[in-house]
C-alpha cells in the first residue's frame, strides 16, 4: 500500500475514506463479470491489448489512429503481469473489467481527496464518493472496459497532484505527465486542459519555483503526446499522402494520424444521437438524481465561483471542469452512450462540494455537529439505496422489492452460452462474422478461430473485406450476432458497406442458434446459400 494512502487511511478522519473504498469495491466488484453485457467497445480494446502482447502491434488490423493507444497499452501491461494473462479472471474481458475495478478504487481515493481538499469537508468528500460508487450511471459504465474510465483516472490524478500543496516541481511534473497520459488514453481529455492549466496557474502564483512548475507541467503533458506523434512519424503515417485532407476522398495508400484527427473533428452526428437524445434515451432513465442534482450543484458552484473568484477558486474550477466537458458533449459530434462517463465523477464532486459547503456553514452545536453530519449522510444514503433513489433496491413489475438489475441479472451468461455453442459447433477454420465482444475469446483460447472478424473490420479493413471475404456472402460461413449488432450494422450502412453481410443474413442463411432474454437477442446464422427455413435450436427465455 503506498505510504501516502496508508497515512491517509490511518489518520483520525480516514475512516470515511476507508468506508468509501469498501463501498466502491462492493458496488463495482459484486456482479462485475455478470452485468452489464460485454460491449463491442470492450472487445475492441481488449483485442488491441491482446495484439500488443501477442503480436507486438497496436492493433491486429491496420491501426488507423482512431484512438491514441495509451488505454490499451495500460491494459496490456496489466494483463502482461498477471499470472494467467487474459484468462486470469475467466476470460479476456473479465480480466479487463478487473482492471476497471482497480481503477475505480484509485479514482475513489482521488475523488475523495480532491473533494476534501476543495471543500475542507470530509462529509462533502464522502457524499461525492457515495454518488460515484452507487450511481447506476457509474456502476453500469465503470464496470466496462472503456478508455474513458482510464482517462478519468488520469485526469483525477492530475487534478489531485495540482492541488497537493507540497510546493514541489516534481509534483507539477507528475501532474503534467498524468494529464498527458489522459490525452493519449482518450483525446477528449483535451477539454479539461484549459481549466487544469488555470488551476495550476492559480496554485503556483507567487511561488519562487512557479516558472519551473509551469514549464515542467507543460513539458510532461507533451511527452506522451509527442511519443504518439513520433510513432506516427516513424511509420510515415503522420501526414496523409499528397497532403490530402479531403473528407470525401480519403487517401488510399496509407493511414494518417492527422487525417484521422481532421476527419473526427469534422464528423457530425447523423440523424439524432445528439446530447439530448442520449440524455433522454440512456442517461436519465439510469440516474436522474445524479444528473439533476449534479446540474443544480454545478450551477451553484459556478455562481459562487464567479462571485468570489479568489475565495471560491475550488468551486469555480469544479464548475468549469464540468462545463468544459458538457461543451464537448453538446458540440454536435458523434456521441456514444458511455461518453457520459467523465461527467459522473464531476457531477458527484460538485454535489459533494455543495453538501460540504452547507455542512461547514452549520452553526456550531457544542460538539453535536458531528452527529448532525452523520445523520445527514445516513439519511442521504437511505434515500439513495431505497426505492426512493433506486440505487440499490427498486420495485419490480409487481411492485415487489428487488435488487437493482446491476446486482441481480447474469447477462454475460448469455454471451458465454453463445460462445460455448460456437466452440461446440463451428469449425475453427470457418470464416465467421462476429461482434467484437467475442473476438478475444476466439483468438486467444484454443481452438483458435483465425478467420473470425467483426463486421466493422469485414466492411472497412481492405485485408479482411477484400482478401478474405471478397465482399461476398459466398465467402461467409457463419454470422454470430446480437440484436444490437444488427442495429449497428444498419447504422453503419449509409454507404452500403454492410450490404453483403446483410444479404448473407437475410437471403442466404439459416438461424442455427438463438437465445432471448428481455431485450437481449443473441443468434448464430449459418450461411449456406438457402433461405433460412426454421431454427434448429431455440432457447428463448422469458424475461425474468
Amino acid at each position: 500500500m503506498p505510504r501516502s494512502l496508508f497515512a491517509t487511511l490511518t489518520r483520525p478522519n480516514g475512516r470515511p475514506l476507508l468506508a468509501a473504498l469498501v463501498l466502491g469495491a462492493a458496488s463495482h466488484g459484486y456482479h462485475l463479470f455478470r452485468y452489464p453485457l460485454y460491449l463491442t467497445d470492450e472487445g475492441i480494446y481488449v483485442q488491441q491489448a491482446w495484439s500488443v502482447l501477442r503480436l507486438g502491434h497496436l492493433s491486429p488490423y491496420t491501426y488507423f489512429y482512431d484512438h491514441a493507444p495509451g488505454g490499451w497499452l495500460v491494459l496490456a501491461a496489466w494483463t502482461g503481469v498477471l499470472p494467467g494473462q487474459f484468462d486470469t479472471f475467466g476470460n479476456a474481458i473479465n480480466t479487463g473489467r478487473a482492471l476497471m475495478l482497480v481503477v475505480h478504487l484509485c479514482s475513489v481515493f482521488l475523488l475523495f481527496e480532491i473533494a476534501r481538499r476543495f471543500s475542507g469537508s470530509v462529509t462533502g468528500a464522502f457524499v461525492a464518493t457515495l454518488f460515484f460508487n452507487l450511481s447506476p450511471l457509474a456502476v453500469f459504465y465503470q464496470r466496462q472496459v472503456l478508455l474513458d474510465n482510464l482517462m478519468v483516472f488520469w485526469v483525477l490524478l492530475s487534478l489531485y497532484l495540482i492541488i497537493k500543496a507540497d510546493n514541489r516541481i516534481t509534483t507539477a511534473l507528475a501532474a503534467g505527465l498524468a494529464f498527458g497520459m489522459a490525452l493519449v488514453t482518450k483525446e477528449n481529455a483535451v477539454f479539461f486542459g484549459p481549466v487544469l492549466a488555470f488551476l495550476l496557474y492559480r496554485r503556483i502564483r507567487g511561488r519562487s519555483n512557479r516558472r519551473f512548475a509551469q514549464g515542467f507541467w507543460l513539458f510532461a503533458g507533451g511527452v506522451p503526446v509527442s511519443f504518439y506523434l513520433m510513432y506516427a512519424t516513424l511509420k510515415n503515417e503522420l501526414l496523409p499522402s499528397g497532403f490530402n485532407f479531403a473528407l470525401d476522398s480519403p487517401p488510399e495508400d496509407h493511414v494518417s494520424l492527422l487525417y484521422t484527427v481532421w476527419w473526427q473533428l469534422n464528423r457530425t452526428a447523423l440523424g439524432g444521437n445528439g446530447f439530448w437524445e442520449m440524455m433522454q434515451d440512456f442517461w436519465l432513465p439510469k440516474d436522474q438524481l445524479l444528473l439533476g442534482g449534479g446540474a443544480v450543484a454545478t450551477l451553484i458552484l459556478l455562481v459562487m465561483g464567479l462571485a468570489h473568484r479568489r475565495r471560491n477558486e475550488a468551486q469555480l474550477v469544479a464548475g468549469l471542469l464540468t462545463v468544459s466537458y458538457v461543451v464537448y458533449l453538446t458540440r454536435g459530434s458523434v456521441l456514444l452512450e458511455f461518453y457520459v462517463l467523465p461527467l459522473v465523477p464531476l457531477l458527484a464532486l460538485n454535489i459533494g462540494l455543495v453538501v460540504g459547503d452547507a455542512m461547514e456553514r452549520l452553526p456550531r452545536l457544542n460538539g453535536r455537529d458531528r452527529v448532525v453530519k452523520c445523520v445527514s449522510v445516513a439519511a442521504l444514503s437511505g434515500v439513495l439505496l431505497t426505492p426512493l433513489g433506486g440505487y440499490l433496491v427498486v420495485r419490480g413489475d409487481q411492485g415487489q422489492l428487488q435488487a437493482h438489475d446491476m446486482y441481480r441479472l447474469r447477462l454475460t451468461d448469455l454471451q458465454e452460452s453463445q460462445l460455448a455453442w460456437v466452440r461446440a459447433n463451428v469449425p475453427p477454420a470457418a470464416k465467421v462474422i462476429i461482434d467484437d465482444d467475442i473476438w478475444p475469446a476466439l483468438h486467444d483460447n484454443k481452438p483458435f478461430y483465425p478467420f473470425a472478424h467483426s463486421h466493422w473490420k469485414a466492411t472497412a479493413d481492405p485485408d479482411v473485406r477484400d482478401k478474405l471475404f471478397g465482399r461476398s456472402w459466398r465467402n461467409v460461413d457463419y454470422v454470430v450476432m446480437s440484436n444490437k449488432m444488427r442495429i449497428a450494422m444498419t447504422k453503419n450502412n449509409a454507404d452500403g458497406r454492410e450490404d453483403w453481410i446483410l444479404d448473407a443474413l437475410d437471403n442466404h442463411s439459416e438461424r442455427v442458434w438463438h437465445l432471448t432474454r428481455g431485450d437481449v437477442q443473441l443468434s448464430v446464422y449459418r450461411v449456406d446459400g438457402t433461405v433460412a427455413p426454421a431454427d434448429t435450436s431455440d432457447q428463448e427465455e422469458a424475461q425474468r
Partner: protein
C-alpha cells in the same frame, strides 16, 4: 549483428535517459525542495564579526583587473583589522606585482595596511602551488580564495562569519555567478551552467556529503586546511579534489547561494579560452577520478555521487562520439519503430534540459535585474547544439591530454567584461 547493434542502441538510450534525468533533477533540486531553498538563502541578520579572514588572490597576468579586486576586498563591510589579504604572484609576472604594489601604496595612504604581495619563484606555475605557498603566511581563522577578476559582495564576510559561528561549520561555499550573459554566442549557456551548478546542484552534493568545491568564494577553517596538507599541486581541479577530501573526512560543507550576495565573474573572452578552461576542468576531474579519493568515502551514496560527477567528462566525451554514430545506425540499419522510439527518449530529455535553461534564463535575469527576451532564447536555441559539441570536444581533448600525460595549466585570461556588463546595468538603473 544488426540485432546486437540495435540492442546496444536501446541499452545506451535507456542509460543516457536515466543519466540525463538524474542530472536534470540535480539542476532543479533547490527549486524542487522548499527546505533546500530555505537553506540556500543568506541569513536575514548578521552575527557580530568575530572570525578573522585571510583572503588569497592568486593572480597571473591580471594587470587589468587586480587593483579593482583588491579594492573590493578591503572595502567590504567587515572590520579591516579582521582581514588579511594576499595577492599571490610568481616572480616572473612583474606587471601584476607592480599593479598590486601600486594599489597597496594607495590603500596605505588611506590607512589600510592589510594587503601584501606574496611572491613565489619555484615550480609548478599553477594556482594550487601559489595557494600552498601563501598558506604558510596565513593567520586568519578562516582562509578564503577569490579569483583576480572576482566582484565580491561587500557583505560576504558577514554572511560567512554568521553561518560559521551560528552553525559551527568549517567550510562554506558561497555562490559564484558569471554575469556577461550576452557577450559571446556561448555566454548565455555558460552563465546558466554556473547558475544551475551553484544555485542548485551543489546543494544536492552538500546534502549527501560529497561535494566538489568551487575554485573561489570558498571558505575554510585554517586548521582544516593544515590538517589536509593544503591543495594538491598536481591536480588541475584542486578545488574539486579538496572538496572530496573534505567530504571523505565527514566534514559538513555549507552551501549558500543567494542571488543578492553572489561573487560575480566573467565567461572566458574567446572560444579558444573557453575550450582551454573546459579542458582543464575535464582533465582535472579525470585526474581526481584516477586518484581514487572517492573510493575511501564512508557511504555508498557519497562514493556514487563523487564517481558520477568525476566520470561525467568521460561520458560527455563518449556522447560526442555516440550521437552521430547512433543517428547513422538508426538510418543505415532501418531501426524498427520500437528501437527508434527508445532512441527518442534521450532527445526528449534534451528538450527538458533546454526548457529548464529557458526558465533558468528568466530566473537569472530577474534575480539580477537584467533582461531576457524571446530573441535571446532563440539565440540560445541556435547555440545549443554547437555548445554541446564544444563541451564534447573539450572533453575529448582532455581525454587525449590525460592519456598523453600532458597536464600543464592552461590559464583562462580575464578582461573584466562582467564589470562592464554590470556597470552598464547599474548606469541604466541610475
Amino acid at each position: 549483428m544488426s540485432a546486437l547493434v540495435l540492442a546496444l542502441l536501446v541499452i545506451v538510450s535507456v542509460v543516457l535517459t536515466i543519466q540525463s534525468s538524474y542530472t536534470l533533477y540535480m539542476m532543479i533540486y533547490t527549486w524542487d525542495q522548499p527546505e533546500a531553498e530555505r537553506l540556500a538563502r543568506a541569513p536575514d541578520s548578521f552575527a557580530p564579526p568575530t572570525l578573522s579572514f585571510t583572503v588569497m588572490l592568486p593572480a597571473r597576468h591580471e594587470e587589468e583587473v587586480i587593483q579593482q579586486t583588491i579594492d573590493n576586498v578591503v572595502r567590504a563591510n567587515y572590520p579591516t583589522n579582521l582581514l588579511q589579504v594576499f595577492v599571490i604572484c610568481r616572480d616572473d609576472d612583474q606587471g601584476t606585482i607592480d599593479q598590486a604594489l601600486a594599489k597597496i601604496d594607495e590603500l596605505q595612504a588611506d590607512g589600510m595596511d592589510v594587503v601584501d604581495v606574496v611572491v613565489f619563484d619555484d615550480l609548478p606555475i599553477n594556482k594550487p602551488h601559489g595557494l600552498n605557498h601563501a598558506l604558510r603566511f596565513a593567520t586568519g581563522d578562516v582562509v578564503t580564495i577569490f579569483d583576480a577578476e572576482d566582484d565580491i559582495h561587500p557583505d560576504i564576510f558577514d554572511i560567512v562569519n554568521t553561518v560559521m559561528v551560528r552553525e559551527n561549520v568549517n567550510v562554506v561555499q558561497a555562490g559564484v555567478q558569471l554575469m556577461n550573459y550576452r557577450s559571446r554566442w556561448y555566454s548565455t549557456l555558460n552563465v546558466l551552467e554556473y547558475f544551475f551548478w551553484f544555485k542548485s546542484r551543489l546543494h544536492y552534493h552538500a546534502k549527501y556529503g560529497s561535494i566538489p568545491l568551487g575554485g573561489n568564494t570558498v571558505f575554510f577553517g585554517r586548521g582544516l586546511l593544515h590538517r589536509l596538507g593544503g591543495w594538491d599541486e598536481t591536480n588541475l581541479t584542486e578545488d574539486a579534489d579538496m572538496g572530496l577530501r573534505i567530504s571523505q573526512l565527514g566534514e559538513r560543507v555549507r552551501v549558500i547561494y543567494d542571488d543578492r550576495y553572489v561573487t560575480r565573474e566573467e565567461t572566458p573572452p574567446s572560444l579558444q579560452h573557453f575550450i582551454k578552461q573546459r579542458t582543464r576542468w575535464c582533465q582535472g576531474f579525470m585526474q581526481t577520478l584516477a586518484k581514487g579519493t572517492w573510493k575511501d568515502m564512508p557511504t555508498r551514496m557519497q562514493r556514487f555521487l563523487a564517481f558520477y560527477t568525476l566520470a561525467f567528462p568521460n561520458v560527455q566525451a563518449a556522447l560526442g562520439v555516440y550521437v552521430p554514430i547512433s543517428l547513422v545506425m538508426i538510418v543505415v540499419l532501418h531501426a524498427p519503430v520500437i528501437v527508434a522510439l527508445f532512441s527518442y527518449l534521450p532527445v526528449l530529455l534534451l528538450g527538458a534540459h533546454f526548457m529548464i535553461h529557458v526558465v533558468g534564463l528568466y530566473e537569472f535575469t530577474e534575480a539580477h535585474g537584467l533582461e531576457a527576451s524571446p530573441l535571446l532564447v532563440l539565440k540560445m536555441a541556435i547555440a545549443w547544439f554547437p555548445y554541446q559539441m564544444v563541451l564534447a570536444f573539450a572533453a575529448l581533448r582532455a581525454l587525449h591530454r590525460q592519456l598523453r600525460g600532458i597536464n600543464n595549466w592552461e590559464k583562462t585570461s580575464h578582461t573584466g567584461q562582467h564589470r562592464e556588463a554590470w556597470d552598464a546595468v547599474a548606469a541604466d538603473a541610475a
